[in-house]
């Protein structure tokens, strides 16, 4: 499985929690109830990409950590 770099833009994140619902092994909420990544290996890649797609404010970016290819958006 390829390594992913997953980032959450806190200028955009509104704590809608779709990512936590889909991939609770990857995302959690911080004290401001915004999403943060605690384990980029905590769910299959397809689930992580779905979580990124489900973000209503497009705050999640997924990149192939080895090649730098942007997988989402």
């Amino acid at each position: 499985m390829r390594r992913l770099t997953i980032t959450v833009d806190h200028q955009r994140c509104v704590g809608n929690a779709q990512c936590l619902n889909l991939a609770p092994g990857v995302f959690r909420h911080n004290d401001a109830v915004q999403s943060e990544v605690f384990d980029p290996t905590g769910a299959p890649e397809a689930v992580i990409l779905k979580a990124a797609r489900f973000c209503p404010t497009s705050a999640i970016r997924v990149v192939d950590a080895t090649t730098g290819d942007v997988l989402f958006p």
């Binding site: 200028q11 509104v14 704590g15 809608n16 779709q18 619902n21 109830v33 489900f54 404010t57």
Partner: protein, 404 residues
């Protein structure tokens, strides 16, 4: 005539909510409104805190609040009010966790930014057709000719019903608008609209359950098959498309157009680069004069804030209109500035109930403001006398006449 400072429906407060709620924001950010028996929250930081703590503040306001409606309704309509409550308590927006998570999960994919962006060509075409119709006339009421028919066209398409039904849906939508009004007789047209809408949708749900199509009713029908929605919830949430998507979009278009025309320097900027600036313009229109002024919650626990105690069961209204003008969150908040970026306004709320239709609203606003700037750069207001509907929730103009 004595004026009750807690009268949220006073003509001056309806005409200019920014002065009244702005003053509360600066002097009493957690204000107890004795007249309506509810807390009023106006600061940006407090609003974000409130809506992101759904475990402390329940969205099941209609179902659990036993107090009489405000402002008062005709006494003989108490039975109708109970019917409306029964209807509204099945709306997605009225659910708390865990039911809300499952229900929203079932419909969320239909509304993702990727999915809604694919609607842009359809929205662009609809805007073009509506403007083609009025262009030769040299003027229009933005509300009647553009802002009201556009969302009905979109929702007709979304429900997968024929174009011939647009007029019927528009008539239903007009009745449903009474949900946010203050008139004492409002329960009658509202319940009539709800009954007609449910009767209209019911046979379609059965057909979509058998033969799914690419529309929102099919999404709900599939969720019913999975046991996530009851049939009543399917009907209620089909109607929610009209409740949630009609007046909000109308207000975005009217309030945004008004803000642009009242700031000629900003309008000129947009006209010079409609394609490039329409996204930022739409965000600033949303911030400056938001379609929804306020929404409500009900306290699920005793909570302390600003040295005051909100008790379990207390009603709370939180004002996006005031938070979007909070100087603690926005530099020069009363200035309408298309170059504002970032622009973290709270016009779509925040937290788990963040507006499901936000991306669609954005696409509609972007396409409308772009098209108006491209086609009618000489557009101007033809009246100084603008009136708003007597609603505490919605910032709704009664008309917006312009010419070009």
């Amino acid at each position: 005539m004595t004026h009750d400072p807690d009268d949220l429906f006073a003509p001056a407060v309806i005409a200019d909510p920014y002065e009244y709620f702005g003053r509360l924001r600066e002097t009493d950010p957690l204000h107890w409104n004795e007249r309506s028996q509810l807390w009023i929250i106006t600061r940006y930081e407090d609003l974000v805190w409130l809506v992101r703590h759904h475990e402390l503040f329940s969205s099941a306001v209609i179902g659990s609040d036993q107090r009489p409606p405000y402002p008062p309704i005709d006494p003989e309509d108490r039975g109708l009010f109970d019917e409306v409550r029964h209807f509204r308590s099945d709306q997605l927006v009225e659910q708390d966790r865990p039911a809300h998570t499952t229900m929203r999960g079932a419909v969320h994919e239909y509304f993702t930014p990727t999915a809604m962006e694919s609607w842009r060509p359809f929205v662009r075409q609809a805007v073009a057709e509506l403007l083609d119709g009025v262009a030769p006339k040299g003027g229009m009421d933005v509300l009647q000719s553009l802002a009201a028919p556009l969302p009905v066209r979109i929702i007709t398409h979304m429900m997968g019903v024929p174009n011939e039904d647009r007029e019927l849906l528009r008539q239903l939508a007009d009745k449903l608008l009474y949900i946010n009004r203050g008139e004492p007789y409002r329960m009658k047209p509202l319940m009539e609209g709800i009954r007609e809408m449910m009767a209209y949708v019911e046979p379609k749900v059965g057909r979509r359950a058998e033969h799914p199509e690419n529309d929102f009713i099919s999404v709900l029908a599939a969720a019913e098959k999975e046991g996530i929605f009851t049939r009543h919830q399917v009907l209620v949430n089909s109607a929610l498309l009209l409740f949630a998507g009609h007046e909000t979009t109308m207000n975005l278009i009217c309030n945004g157009t008004l803000a642009l025309l009242r700031h000629p320097d900003q309008w000129a900027k947009l006209c010079a680069d409609p394609e490039g600036l329409t996204r930022l313009a739409t965000e600033e229109c949303l911030r400056f004069d938001p379609p929804v002024k306020s929404t409500q919650r009900i306290a699920a626990a005793d909570v302390e804030r600003h040295g005051k105690l909100i008790r379990k069961g207390d009603r709370i209204r939180w004002f996006m209109a005031a938070a979007n003008r909070d100087p603690r969150a926005f530099a020069e908040p009363d200035r309408f500035d298309l170059s504002r970026s970032p622009n973290p306004h709270v016009s779509f709320g925040s937290g788990v109930h963040y507006c499901l239709g936000a991306t669609l609203a954005r696409v509609e606003g972007q396409e409308v403001f772009r098209a108006l700037a491209e086609r009618f750069p000489t557009m101007r207001l033809t009246t100084d006398r603008l009136e708003y509907q007597p609603s505490i929730q919605f910032r709704s103009l009664k008309s917006l006449p312009v010419s070009w």
